[in-house]
Amino acid sequence: MGLRTNAPTPTLVLDLPRGRINTGAAHSERLVALPAAWVGELLECLPDGLDAFADRLVGPIVADAAEALDDVPGSLPEDVAWALSLAFARRGFGLVSFERWGDAMLFIWRSPPATGPGFREFAARLSSRVVAELLGLRVRGAVLNGDGATLRVLLASPETCQEVRSLTVEGVSPEAILEMLTTGDAT
């Protein structure tokens, strides 16, 4: 349980003679360096493609994070946060941490490439899918709040996340939503 000591060293190779960027791994995918602001603008233009775009990123991120963890199911939150931060940072996506408010688990995305409305839906999809794939759970996500530097995503059941989205649209504050979350039967 914990982090692997032989975790791969993050590397970014600018192969200028061939005009390529990659991570230096044996089978690394080719990367393209684009302004981070374009990500948010692109997602705004592709409202129907948010889920597909996020799902496409889940696999590589989970693979990198799992490679850095010794025992994924038994990993502590700090270790998973470190492994996901490493995978996110290698792609310029920022860093990851977790917060627990009562029993509510929040995925904290620090320094994301964008924080606009379109990117929030993308963030909820990507963060929840990464955690679900890594831990083997059917967890979903709903953005509670965020500013220019941090996004907070509630990790909960699909039904609860749908209700939280409705409350957010109604203008209910994040604090009120967290107070509504409780164990047992909902009323």
Binding site: L16, P73, G74, A81, W101, L135, E163, P174, L178, M180
Partner: protein, 218 residues
């Protein structure tokens, strides 16, 4: 005829002779025209005899594969009379009777001998093969390898900072940041009696069990 008459006729004859002798003599250009007219037919046929040498240089000797030495082309002997084809029209004579002929010197540039290099096919001069055009090569600079710092992402640093979340933090709020670095503050936290660490998977599962309880409205 009397002696007087004979004398008079003799004097008149002498006078005619003297008058003709003293008269200015008209220069006759035909004195030089005759040799020119003789030269002109000799040169004009020369321009016509050049095509008679039915031997043409190879168009691109450099691209031909090596061929066996071709026998030297021995041109047929040309009779001198063939080289000098008389002009049926004859020399041009001007209206004033001048038989002078204009001779163009441009036709004199023709080769006069078959031994000239232009027609010498017995030993074709070796020509270097045409080299393929060399492509322009633009060598880009040497690859630049940029490695991230060996240190892990500084995830634990914001943990020590005060919370900036606008959320009202309940009393039992717990934070799970990346594995903390050894700091004195963390050492004190570790010294506190805490529950056994719980894997993230179990914590997420508990979060999935939460339901939304809407407050009762009057």
């Amino acid at each position: 005829m009397s002696h007087t008459d004979a004398r008079a006729r003799l004097e008149a004859l002498l006078q005619r002779v003297v008058s003709r002798k003293d008269a200015p003599r008209v220069p006759r250009a035909t004195a030089t025209a005759a040799p020119r007219a003789a030269v002109e037919p000799a040169l004009r046929p020369a321009t016509r005899t050049a095509p008679l040498v039915a031997v043409e240089p190879q168009p691109e000797p450099a691209r031909l594969a090596p061929e066996p030495a071709r026998p030297a082309v021995e041109p047929d002997p040309i009779a001198p009379e063939d080289l000098f084809e008389p002009d049926p029209a004859g020399p041009e004579i001007s209206e004033d009777g001048d038989e002078s002929v204009e001779i163009s010197t441009s036709s004199l540039d023709l080769p006069t001998s078959l031994d000239d290099d232009l027609y010498d096919l017995r030993e074709p001069a070796p020509v270097a093969p045409v080299a393929e055009p060399a492509p322009l090569v633009f060598d880009p600079p040497t690859p630049v390898f940029i490695e991230e710092p060996a240190a892990l992402p500084d995830i634990a640093t914001p943990v020590a900072a005060p919370l900036t979340s606008p959320l009202a933090e309940p009393a039992d709020t717990q934070r799970y940041d990346a594995r903390p670095l050894p700091e004195p503050q963390r050492a004190r936290v570790v010294a506190m009696p805490v529950a056994a660490p719980t894997p993230l998977r179990d914590l997420v599962r508990r979060s999935m069990e939460l339901r939304l309880r809407r407050p009762h409205r009057p």
